[in-house]
């Protein structure tokens, strides 16, 4: 009983602001509810049918989200691991570099996006001015769908890579130095040591980072909102932004709730895959 005094603030808030809404969104997703209907009318799975079979926007959004994830996750992880390998041992300047690479993580995504949007202006933007010096005429980054997607991915990677770098550094530092020493005595090269000792030992960390980063890539909202607003030509319209747009701009509550459910399922599946892989790794 005493224990419930400790957990009740948390448990009650959790019921009201999480479990309740989670149930509600399941119901909402099966209603027709928009500016015209003004209130919810039960329509079964019509919203899901609409999203999956009828509305071409949905698959466009899914395609964008997948491209975003496929671009962001490998780039983020490769850069994070490279930086971590370079910065896991003390040397002169290591604190400086760690501080620099992590700084964007503590910065607001909106602020980060504002500055990059500014740097990536088509005319008079700093990036293009620099390119002009070496004789390249840069594109209007945020006004062309493919370039906009690339720009959003890269700036997001720079913003968030520090976090994964820190996780990799922590994992690297937890590997006993004796392994490396033993391998070196047996004549292994640096690459062999990495490939045959470090990389396998990092596998659990890599798995966790991969899933966290993938889930994070499906959740990205503020960055896109500020940099491109989903444009140009819906070229950066990703799932989280689409939910916001449908729910709060167009007031398609039923449809937006169905989208939220789809996002929920995607994230759940990713998590289950992670748990299964982790179990398999543990065996």
């Amino acid at each position: 009983m005493e224990a419930w005094l400790f957990v009740s603030p948390s448990a009650i808030g959790f019921l009201i602001f999480f479990l309740g809404p989670l149930c509600a969104v399941v119901y909402f997703s099966m209603t027709e509810w928009n500016l015209l209907t003004q209130q919810a009318a039960f329509v079964g799975l019509a919203n899901f049918k609409n999203a999956l079979l009828e509305n071409p926007d949905f698959w466009h959004v899914v395609r964008n989200s997948v491209i975003f994830a496929l671009g962001l996750v490998p780039l983020n992880m490769a850069l994070a691991l490279t930086l971590a390998l370079a910065l896991s041992r003390p040397f002169f300047g290591v604190v400086f570099f760690r501080t620099v690479f992590f700084a964007p993580v503590v910065t607001s995504a909106i602020a980060w996006a504002i500055v990059w949007k500014f740097l990536l202006q088509g005319e008079g933007g700093f990036i293009n001015q620099m390119l002009a010096i070496v004789g390249i005429s840069g594109p209007n980054w945020l006004r062309e769908p493919n370039w906009a997607m690339a720009a959003v991915i890269v700036t997001r990677v720079i913003k968030m890579v520090g976090l994964n770098m820190i996780l990799y550094i922590a994992a690297l530092q937890a590997i006993p130095r004796d392994y490396e020493a033993a391998a070196r005595l047996e004549g292994a090269s640096r690459w062999q040591i990495f490939r045959m000792i470090i990389w396998p030992l990092l596998a659990p960390t890599t798995l966790i980072i991969m899933v966290i980063t993938t889930i994070g890539s499906f959740k990205v909202f503020d960055h896109i909102y500020q940099m491109t607003g989903g444009g140009p030509e819906n070229g950066t319209l990703v799932l989280a932004f689409y939910i916001y747009q449908q729910g709060f701009k167009f007031f398609n509550i039923g449809y937006a709730s169905a989208l939220a459910m789809i996002m929920f399922v995607i994230v759940m599946m990713l998590t289950i895959v992670q748990v299964m892989l982790r179990r398999k790794g543990a065996e």
Partner: protein, 280 residues
């Protein structure tokens, strides 16, 4: 070349490579501050790192264009409130989950774990109607309640629980022998010994509240209620185009204090994120 020279060369090459990689991480901050002082014309003229004319008015106009001081204060007090509430609630629940046996503990854990994984975008629509039915739209309540009880709060609970689990149990027994109640053990022994976890929760919670965007965007409509990220994205002219120099000046004002704190406490802050990531 000797071994030593090879090593120095190798080191130097690495350092130069890292410096090049570091440019896109550092340069936006530098350029942000620099552009914050420029006039509109200079901003899109030939690039200069040091403004030709230091336009200090930008920083005054920031405050006249929007109630920026008020918005700054909103962000600050909300972040502090969210941090304090999260610390209290998560450490209480975390302690119970770590140390007490009670009916429903397993179920509660299961629910909390699931909450950890569900993005807030999933529940934001029902939450909007919930908040609206409470008459709390365009107040700061949703920006306080949703993070405290949302995924962020759950993560804090787990972090605290994990830390409490690792505390030696005999210390708490000693506390009981000294006459402390459960509550006393939590307050006078478990909490003082959990400073690293408390610091981590405080830092991460504060930053995530400070940077919160989706909730303010959805719930706030009047300028005086805005928080910083929302205010920053709102520096547009009547055609919806950014007022670049004001926006960048405001962004500078919002970002630089956090960066200064970060530079002072970088070790602690980075460790906090590492701690939460490892546990999460």
């Amino acid at each position: 070349m000797t071994q030593r020279q090879i090593r120095i060369l190798y080191r130097t090459c690495w350092t130069i490579a890292l410096l090049i990689v570091a440019i896109p991480f550092m340069f936006p901050f530098v350029w942000m501050v620099s552009a914050g002082f420029k006039s509109t014309t200079e901003i899109f003229g030939a690039p200069t790192l040091i403004p030709r004319v230091w336009r200090w008015q930008n920083f005054i106009e920031v405050f006249t264009y929007q109630p920026f001081a008020r918005q700054y204060f909103n962000s600050l007090y909300i972040a502090i409130l969210v941090t304090v509430l999260t610390l209290i609630i998560s450490s209480l629940a975390g302690y119970a989950l770590a140390r007490m046996r009670f009916a429903g503990a397993g179920l509660l854990m299961l629910f909390l774990i699931s909450a950890l994984m569900v993005p807030e975008e999933v529940t934001i629509i029902p939450n909007f109607f919930l908040i609206r039915s409470m008459g709390l739209v365009d107040t700061h309540w949703p920006l306080i309640l949703l993070p405290v009880f949302g995924p962020q709060g759950v993560m804090a609970t787990f972090l605290m629980r994990q830390y409490f689990l690792a505390l030696p149990k005999e210390l708490e027994d000693a506390g009981k022998m000294d006459g402390l109640s459960r509550f006393g053990v939590w307050w006078r022994i478990a909490l003082p010994m959990s400073r690293p976890a408390i610091a981590a929760v405080a830092i991460i919670t504060f930053l995530s509240s400070w940077n919160l965007f989706l909730e303010p965007l959805i719930f706030l409509s009047s300028l005086e209620m805005f928080t910083l990220p929302l205010a920053l994205s709102n520096f547009n002219d009547s055609y919806g185009l950014p007022l670049w120099n004001l926006q960048l000046a405001a962004t500078t004002l919002a970002v630089v204090p956090i960066l200064i704190v970060y530079l002072i406490a970088q070790r602690q802050i980075i460790e906090s994120f590492a701690l939460s990531g490892v546990k999460g």
